[in-house]
Amino acid sequence: MNDKILPTTVVGSYPKPRWLNHLIREHSDSSLSDEVMESAYSDSIKAVVKDHELAGVDILWDGEMRREEMTSYFAEHINGFSIYGEVRVWGNNYYRKPSIVDELSYRDELTVSEYRNLRGLTEHDIKVPITGPYTIVDWSFNEHYRTKEDAVYALAEVINQELKALVAAGASFIQIDDPAIPTHVDELEIARNSVEIATKGVKAYTGLHICYGDYSKLYPQVLDFSVDQLDFELANKSFQDISIFREHDFTKDIGFGCVDVHTRRIESVDEIKGNIKKAFEIVEPKRVYVDPDCGLKLLSSQVSFQKLSNMCAAARELRGEL
């Protein structure tokens, strides 16, 4: 998809600027108008894009400034979902857990306007991340469909429409985020089918991001998923999973998580170069996309920027050496 060898990219999220968090709070207390909030989102995305460009990222996204989480953000725009309130994830962290209360169908665009907006802000290639139907259903209540499987496939059809709309708007790289897949490996077949439905007839380069979990339970079956690239977190587990991927011929491009998003420690350029080289034990360099393990939103802006800068410098130096 990218002409450059070892293109660098992000998984999706980026820390929100402090001032934005401030404004989001004021907006939720109704002391800030929608109009001002809207311009704040818009400005924050420009700042993120600039950060990514300065760091040297080749394939960008907007940092997901408008998203608080990855389920209800989409569910709110799809017919058939209803949200009754928040449910706890852990400690004081909650999310608005949607319920499927009726047949699911496409209502309006989920990511197309975000894509268009970003397209107007940068000359760089863009990757659009969207939560996969399997994960959205897994993180929702099902009041309508007889089985979870039925609900997943119905939602996959909706996502398929959105992906086609993205392509029509010009998107060439779409990433499906499916962190729920490794939490139910017995339902891998359902997840596989959902990705097949979601990507059917979608004329774009597609990736599947799966983080956390035990990859040995997914591999090599996940090679059958109908995407061009599999994107994994590897740094967080000290690259131990490489041996899993070496057991079978890795027949897809790899999104190679080479920077740990769970630690504030900033990996040096040399260290990251060493990390990226480990990908070559799995596939040849031209099949490697360089990115952090996962979204960066839990880190500070400064740390995130440094990590991205070093990651891009490492890829740059490696390109020269190859």
Partner: protein, 314 residues
């Protein structure tokens, strides 16, 4: 028939209260809010919701608990908390407790919360856990798991005595992990329960949920407990078979509505399930409840779920 209706333990926090805790405690780890005016107001609210729905044996909703485990070890010596782990097959996580020293009860665990609830309402059922706490923790101190388990049973016994002393006539011990235990674990849990209940002037409920109790039979019948909590949502068929094949004088606390979905059962469906249980257990030996705590639901749906329960026995 007037059945005793109960809740299993957790209750969603009223949204204003979770917002308050977010502000006071932060999202990661800040200082813990204790029993303050806001807590008392939230407590009165969830107790009121339960009473309104016809629940007779109430719980305080575990409103200060970060999750099913950490709140119990917070006040114990010997534990520290580490990384996030998924809680069974729920989209809910807990910080894994690690035993890094001898487990001791430096302070009461839930006694103050129990007292607070009693100042608002009667018939409060306090909730502890023992085997599951050990099972879902990492042991970095004890030579063997059994020793770890017995020490936790010992501190829970001290807590149970304190609770009984404060007026608790019925105490629930939540043990979902037991349903996943091997025979050795099932036996060890029996010994732990002997220690936990010893000399405590109260009745005990052993609450199990998330699946059927096949692995616990027949040992569970010899456990020193008065009430068997079984999940008739996830394990309907098997649990019916078990109570049929193993008649017991113990009371059954039957989880008959699904505490983990916003889908509301029809009271007539729930009644059918209750009827199939009362064919095997007499009505006065039956408590009815949701199968799990209710904190898996948005706040507004918890009372609706309890409403389904009470409508099904009308």
């Amino acid at each position: 028939m007037e059945y005793t209706l109960s809740t299993v333990g957790s209750y969603p926090r009223p949204e204003w209260f979770s917002d308050y805790l977010k502000k006071q405690e932060g999202l990661q780890k800040g200082s813990r809010v204790g029993i303050d005016d806001s807590y008392m107001r939230a407590l009165a609210e969830v107790l009121g919701e339960q009473k309104k729905s016809g629940i007779r044996l109430l719980t305080d909703g575990q409103l200060l608990w970060q999750n099913m485990l950490c709140h119990l070890c917070d006040s114990l010596d010997g534990f520290r908390l580490s990384g996030l782990i998924r809680y069974f097959d729920n989209n809910m996580y807990y910080q894994m407790p690690e035993a890094v020293g001898r487990v001791e009860r430096g302070n009461p665990i839930i006694l103050d919360e129990y007292r607070a609830a009693c100042s608002v309402e009667k018939n409060i059922k306090p909730v502890l856990s023992c085997y599951s706490l050990v099972d879902l923790s990492q042991n970095r101190f004890y030579g063997d798991e059994k020793e770890f388990l017995m020490d936790v049973a010992e501190v829970m016994n001290q807590e149970a005595k304190a609770l009984a002393g404060a007026g608790a006539s019925i105490i629930q011990v939540d043990e979902p992990s037991l349903l996943f235990a091997d025979k050795e674990g099932v036996e060890a849990a029996g010994e732990a329960l002997e220690v936990l209940t010893k000399g405590v002037n109260a009745s005990f409920i052993l609450a199990t949920y998330f699946r059927d109790a096949k692995g616990l039979y027949p040992e569970i019948l010899d456990y020193p407990i008065d009430v068997l909590g079984l999940d008739f949502v996830e394990g309907l068929k098997e649990n019916l078979k078990l109570i049929k094949e193993h008649p017991t004088e113990k009371i059954i606390q039957a989880g008959v509505v699904d505490g983990r979905t916003t889908l509301m059962e029809k009271p007539s469906e729930v009644k059918e399930v209750i009827d199939s249980i009362t064919e095997l257990v007499s009505g006065e030996k039956l408590f009815l409840s949701p199968n799990t705590g209710l904190e898996y639901l948005p706040y507004v749906k918890a009372s609706e779920k309890m409403g389904v329960l009470s409508a099904s026995v009308d």
